[in-house]
Structures are given as C-alpha cells and as structure tokens.
C-alpha cells in the first residue's frame, strides 16, 4: 500500500459567508503500488481538493493522509503533480524546465542532462529541447509537464485533469500514451477526470465521488484487459452502470 487516506474531510472557511464550505466528507481510500486509480465526480465535489491535500499544498481539516505510512506534512517531489493548466516556466526551455526540479534537488549537471534527455524521449519530444513553452501546442506542454514530474521519480503521480483542456483527439492520444508509459514503467497514478470514458480507458479502479460534500459513492474495480474498447459489451455495461450512479448522485434538473 502506497497511499492511505483515513476519514479525510476538508472544510474551507469562507469569511464572507461566515460559515464553512464542506468540500469533502469522510474519505477513506487506499491505493496499492502500481495501481492506476481514477477519481470522477461532478464539478465542485472536491476532486482537486483531495489531490491538493495528498500533494501537501493543503491540510485535511480532519483525518490523516499517509504515504508509505508517513503522515504528509507538505509538498514533496515524492508526490509529483501534473496540473490541469500549463505550469511550465515560460522563460525556460523545455529541457531547462525538466532539469529545473532536478537542479533543485541538487542533482549534478551531467546526471541532470541524462535524465532530462531520457524523459524527453519517453514522452516523444526529442528535438524540442530548446523550444520555449509558448512554441508548443497544449498537448506537447502537458507532455513536458509529465516528463518534468516523472523525472523527479515520484512514489505516486497525481494528475488533476491533465488533459482536460485539450481537444478530444489529442486527449485520446495522450491517454493512450500515458497508459503505455504506465505499463512500461510501473507507476502508481491517481488521476482526476470528469470523463467516464477516460476513466474506463485508463483505470484499474474508479472512485466516484458524490456532489458536494464529496463522499465516495462507488469504488469500482475494473479487471478488463487493456487496451480497452469503449464499445465492447463489458465496457458498455460499466459505462451504463457509472452513468446510472452519476444520475443517482446528481439527478438532472437539480441546481448545481
């Protein structure tokens, strides 16, 4: 077991309203080594909040989050995050962006260059070493962000709708590439999305959160072989099941 969330709740105190917003309520979740877990749920149910707490940017209001049995106390490269929006530093080249995290860790230059080169290859961006982020497409930027985070060799990869801002086609391709990468390199991944299809394509396990305050409504193990066909009988069944569950938690016509 890599990660364990126990009775995690998050309340944001809003001074203007004078009362708290309960974003998450009593989340219990354990993630095993090399597991690919997707979190889905309606907007505002606390997916990002959960990820940010695991990343260490915020503390849970109640409960505990442990990585390798150690309480999380702040951000750390052992919990690598890929953000939804581009977080590359615009004044650094692609290569410098990937090397930056390693430099912070005090990794010597030659080793840094080796590692950066390797991860550039892995995400298929060889030859773009010296490009600046603004010269890349959205999909390429996210690939660089993934390479940068992977280069830190994190124990768990936290991805918050990393392909959410991309078009359908690019997203499909990146999903596929991420899957290949995960299969080859054995990583533990926690992936937030609000697309049922994306979750089914990727996950070993799908966690469905309810509307705010987010609780775990469903924890579904998927044991289908990959690559998965979205139109195969089993997958269609799971899609329908998930859709029904989603309807249960937030029936249409109800204000969000």
């Amino acid at each position: 077991m890599v990660l364990e969330c126990r009775n995690v709740s998050k309340v944001y105190v809003n001074r203007k309203l004078g009362h708290g917003v309960v974003a998450l309520n009593d989340i219990n979740l354990t993630i095993a080594k090399n597991e690919f877990v997707c979190i889905i749920g309606p907007s505002g149910c606390g997916k990002s909040s959960l990820l940010h707490m695991i990343a260490g940017f915020e503390r849970p209001t109640r409960g505990s989050i442990r990585l390798h049995n150690e309480e999380i106390s702040g951000p750390s490269p052992e919990r690598g995050v890929v953000f939804q929006e581009s977080s590359l530093l615009p004044w650094k080249s692609v290569r410098e962006n990937i090397e930056f995290g390693l430099a912070i860790q005090g990794c010597p230059r030659s080793e840094r260059q080796d590692i950066a080169g390797r991860y550039l290859n892995i995400v298929g961006l060889q030859g773009f070493d010296h490009a600046r982020p603004h010269e890349l497409s959205g999909g390429m930027k996210q690939k660089v962000a993934i390479a940068r985070t992977l280069a830190l060799d994190p124990a768990i990869l936290l991805m918050d709708e990393p392909f959410g801002a991309l078009d359908e086609q690019t997203r499909k391709r990146l999903d596929f590439e991420l899957l290949e990468l995960w299969q080859q390199r054995q990583k533990t991944i926690l992936f937030v999305t609000h697309s049922i299809e994306e979750a089914i394509l990727l996950a070993d396990r799908i966690i469905l959160l309810t509307v705010r305050p987010g609780r775990i409504q469903l924890d579904l193990e998927l044991s289908l072989p990959r690559p998965r066909n979205l139109f195969s009988k089993e997958v269609v069944e799971i899609r329908q099941q998930l859709l029904a569950e989603l309807m249960l938690c937030c029936p249409p016509g109800q204000p969000v």
Binding site: A55, F57, G74, P75, S76, P77, R79, G80, V81, F83, E85, S87, L89, P90, W91, F100, G101, I104, Q105, R132, P133, H134, E135, T149, L152
Partner: protein, 131 residues
Amino acid sequence: MIFIMGLTPIIINTAGGIRSIPPIYIKSARMMGATRFLIFFRVMLPAATLAIVTGLRIGLANSWRVLIAAEMIVGAGVGLGYAIIQSRWSLDFEAAFVCVVIICVIGLVVEKLGFEVVEKRIMAQMGLGQD
C-alpha cells in the same frame, strides 16, 4: 526628490509584478522541493522581470524629468535644464530650443535603444505579445 520619483514606480512595479505571478508556478516549484529562498530567486524574480524592467523605465524617465526641472529651479550652474533657463534670460531662443531637442533625444535614445530592446527580448523569451 529625483530619487523618490525614480524609486516609487520601480518598487510599485516590482511588487505588482511579483503579486501577479501565476500561483501555479510557485505551487509546482514547491512540489519539486524548492525552498522559499529558491522560489524567490529562481521563480519569482525571473517571472517578474518584465514588470521590474518596466518599473525601471518609468522610474528613469521620472528621474530624468525631475532632474531637468531641478536644474531649472535650483540652477546648479551646469546641466541642460540650467542651460535652458540661461538662454531664456539671455533671450537666446535658439539655444533654448537646442537644449530642449537634446533633452528629447537623450530621453528617446535611452527609451528606444535601451528599454524597448530589453523589453522586447524578455517578451520574446516568454512568448508574450506576439499575436
């Protein structure tokens, strides 16, 4: 006076520049294990470079104006501002105009050859303003 007029925009712009840094840069640096010191010098300062240069530019322009005015009023005995006043007193309008033109040219040269080039370079590097 020259100092204050010059320094204020520099400080305001730097502060504004640092405040408008996307928080995501700082978050991702923290995720990579950066200390506060590193975040300041390796992320915040470079991200605010453009604003700092703009501040310098306004600051220097202000200082330049105040300097000329001060020379006119205080009458230091040297300088372009003093020279204008001198020529006015001696009704030498041509000399006064020459001085004004010189003042403009110096200002323009510093602007165009100094700051604009630097700003353009930074903007090109960060991929800003080229649509």
